[in-house]
């Protein structure tokens, strides 16, 4: 099973002919991902090492059966690419591009509400289901297949924790980087719900950071809606307190946004929280050992 990406993923890479798109698209393919198409306007008819290029996502859907899109186009064009993928009927859109204006994401988020599409990112490392499919820039070689779902706002910190899990002989169902931008397509809660419903996933690790109140919301969700054990890690314990978004920000979230506040909120709901990546991996190992 796994979530978001698996052996049924038929990937179209928007921006496959760019240098980064090409590098990671081919790397994803070499990890077993079924990369069925690339989209670059004006380059329809070409190919990238056998992967056909189309001018539009609609063509990639109708002619190559794409069901998942990875957006690798520059930030000023990324929201257009997301809309194009959504309107073409793509079910899972994963936007790697960083630097997408937040107001554009606000509108896209409102636009997809009620539509049958899942958006991951932007500014995220993507999703990897070891042994099945990798969509994004997560280095697949440091992960192994297993029963632990991993969801994170961070990129390299995710690799770090995955690596620590691997060192302890543990593997992952799916690793999902949701991105740390103010407005992202899917939140912790969205991904936790997917893990809860996924038969392969037995435990979940959630990797949060200071700022915002997504971890606090996730804590409430875990208590009310999850049966699977969750272990959390929060980065930024030693960051001095300060304002996140002026006074208004703190009032909105009703949270200090500090790592300690997040840890407290999670522990109050029965979620164990590691203070270092190493400790976090050990907590998971304890659970896994029973």
């Amino acid at each position: 099973m796994a979530i978001l990406v698996d052996s049924s993923t038929r990937l179209v890479v928007q921006g496959l002919t760019g240098s980064e798109g090409r590098f990671h698209g081919l790397r994803n393919r070499s990890h077993g991902t079924d990369v069925v198409a690339g989209v670059t306007p004006g380059k329809g008819g070409q190919d990238v090492e056998g992967i056909p290029i189309f001018d539009t996502v609609a063509e990639a859907v109708s002619k190559a059966g794409a069901n998942t899109a990875m957006v690798f186009v520059p930030a000023p064009f990324a929201s257009d690419a997301m809309y194009e993928a959504i309107d073409a009927g793509i079910g899972t859109v994963i936007c790697i591009t960083e630097g997408v204006p937040a107001h554009e994401m606000l509108r896209i988020h409102a636009f997809i509400a009620g539509r049958d599409v899942r958006l991951i990112g932007p500014n995220c490392p993507g999703a990897l289901s070891p042994g099945k499919a990798n969509v994004g820039i997560i280095p697949a070689e440091i992960f192994r297949e297993g029963s632990i779902g991993l969801v994170s706002r961070s990129g390299t910190l995710t690799y770090q924790i995955g690596h620590e899990l691997t060192q302890l002989g543990l593997g992952n169902s799916t690793i999902v980087g949701i991105g740390g931008d103010p407005i992202v397509g899917s939140s912790f809660i969205d991904v936790l719900a997917l893990f809860e419903a996924d038969p392969q996933t037995e435990y979940v690790v959630m990797v949060g950071e200071i700022g915002g109140d997504e971890e606090e919301k996730a804590a409430a969700f875990i208590e009310s809606a999850m049966t699977k054990p969750v272990v959390a890690y929060i980065a930024g314990f030693t960051a001095p307190p300060g304002k996140t978004m002026g006074h208004a920000g703190a009032i909105i979230s009703g949270s200090a946004g500090t790592a300690q506040a997040k840890k407290d909120a999670l522990e109050a709901r029965g979620v164990r929280v590691g203070t270092t990546p190493t400790e976090t991996a050990e907590l998971v190992a304890e659970l896994a050992r029973g």
């Binding site: 937040a102 490392p125 961070s154 770090q160 200071i210 002026g246 208004a248």
Partner: protein, 396 residues
Amino acid sequence: MCARGMTSRGGRLARALDLHEYQGKELFRRYGIPVSDGVLATSPAEARVAAEELGGPVVVKAQVLIGGRGKAGGIKLASSPDEAETRAGEILGMDIRGHTVQKLWIERASDIAREYYLSLTFDRSAKQPLFMFTTQGGIDIEEVAATSPDALVKLHVDPLEGCHPWHARRLVYAAGVVDPGEQKQIAAIVGKLYDAFVGADAMLCEINPLIVTPEGEVRALDSKFTVDDNALFRHPDIAEMRDVAGADPLEVLAREKGVTYVKLDGEVGVLGNGAGLTMSSVDVVTFAGGRPANFCDLGGGGDAQGVVDALEVITRDEQVRSIFFNIFGGITRCDEVARGILQAVGQMGLELPIVVRLDGTNADAGRRILAEASLDNLHPEATMLDGARRAVELAA
């Protein structure tokens, strides 16, 4: 360090451009929000000229990107150009919570009958813009929220629906504004604030206080305006408002070099790739008993030159006694990082101990490059935890 700078955006630190009061008011003016006339001054003499031009009593206001200016003595009334010059002399150069006052906004003084509060910001959870409005303005709004939550009216705006007249009506009636003239003016300001918020790609537009004069005129007496860095490519005029002079010189250097750097107070320089990992590295150094000297994120790429630039920034801080390099390669290739370290050490003649932990993409090649160089001050470590501990030891 400002924790705002420590909010990661996945790959890199969230950066937003905070504007000075006078810059925010310039944007308010563009979008039709009434503000008082004022002139920028950077010397007592300029302040005098400004006060003469404006005529009548003026307010001399320190332009620093930190709250609490008033309490710190950074805002003073002056009834004459003479007095404006004197007050300007007192305020210029003043240190307000770590910020040195370099600019003054000389503004025509306003008579104030009432002070309201109006803001529009991102509600990250609801993923919608949120208006907040209260007739209890002028004071710390967090206190209003804490002590009289009912007095603070909150209203989300669906970004696809946009801001309609009903939003404004809901705010003014729910907050209990009774004067029809005020209702009308505030309603107009609500609509224009939304235009400004969307038009300038703002993350926060705050007016505190939004004043009512004895004549019943409504005006923005202060501004807090924060713009999304990611959208500056379409606002070159706003991008130019960035106050380089007022910022920490190391942070300015880092920005020029394309490195994300936040100065801290300790001795262990911390350098990672990715905001989350770097933040975690800072934590681990602290838990290992050390004091981090900085947060420095190579970012997603991290080629050799980027490593050199980052080391140049970090080592400008004379408190630094050791450096902890914590790299988990993804897009970043560890061999490139290793080459960058050697290049920097060679170019800069670095003698500080550097602990290097490499994992992920091309980690073996990177470790080999460092081993072959066999420099005395390079200390390879296999894990993040061991690396942090070693760096702490070496700084002691």
